[in-house]
Subunit: 133 residues, 2 copies
DNA sequence: TTTTTTACCTACCAATCAAGTATGTTGGTG
DNA sequence: CACCAACATACTTGATTGGTAGGTAAAAAA
């Protein structure tokens, strides 16, 4: 499997925030209840979205999260790369991968590269706005 | 990551067998040396390919493996599903997955389904013959 | 100023999977 | 029989997944 709960939950939280955006901050507890996701678990996923400008976080009463970017400017590809680390379908294509000694002769490499391109293209062609409409 | 070494090695072994097919049996050791894959590891992957009619196995001296199907009748999709078990990109789409309680409201499900279809289509449209030509 | 509410941080944990190794056994050949 | 090669089983090591527990920091309300 390629996409773990980490990336999938991030998408659902963002979609939920975008969908219920009224200008107010939405506490994570509300989102967790609606999406039936462990509050503690997504608490740990959120900071990376805050740091990268997807949401604004506010402490204390009346606090919570609020979308900062417009949903149509948030591609699924970027969000998944941020939360999953990589979208490469095989380890030979991962950024930190040691260069394969059989690179030149490998009969499968170009297939993996085409797949990788296709998957990235798929995710980069979808935005949060597409998900909630 | 989606495709582990299990499926990737299976493809490389089969491509190697097809490429070096001379009618004789090819011992796995030869393939392992050429492909620089642990012999013991692929030994454990082969039986499923034998049982499913991809290769013919022969014990003893002069034995080894030989392609049984024509490479152009071997789709990558079938080989990967056999060796990897599943090609589903997310757990919600796996065969044994418990039906998600939020199925109807989930804003991401249809995206995963489209991705799944796209990936399957990709792999089902490629055969071993494409890899070795 | 204390309490409440919320985000955030760190450490831990159990289960599973990945990628092998090690050690044999079975079956065919010369 | 000796040898070779496929096949089978058990184990290992390390990483990842999907959390939980417990506490800290900040902001607002009482």
């Amino acid at each position: 499997m390629m996409i773990s709960t980490r990336g999938r939950y991030a998408l659902r939280v963002l979609a939920d925030l975008a969908e219920h955006d009224s200008g107010e901050f939405i506490p994570l507890k509300e989102v967790a209840d609606r999406q039936r996701i462990s509050l503690k678990y997504i608490e740990r996923i959120m900071p990376v979205l805050t740091k990268n400008g997807y949401v604004l976080a506010m402490h204390g009463k009346g606090g919570g999260y609020k979308m900062l970017k417009s949903p149509k400017d948030c591609t699924i590809g970027d969000i998944l790369r941020l939360t999953e680390g990589s979208l490469a379908p095989v380890s030979c294509l991962m950024q930190d991968a040691a260069p394969c000694p059989l690179r030149e002769q490998c009969r499968t490499l170009s297939m993996w590269e085409r797949l990788d391109t296709m998957i990235s293209g798929f995710f980069d062609g979808i935005t949060l706005a597409d998900l909630i409409k």
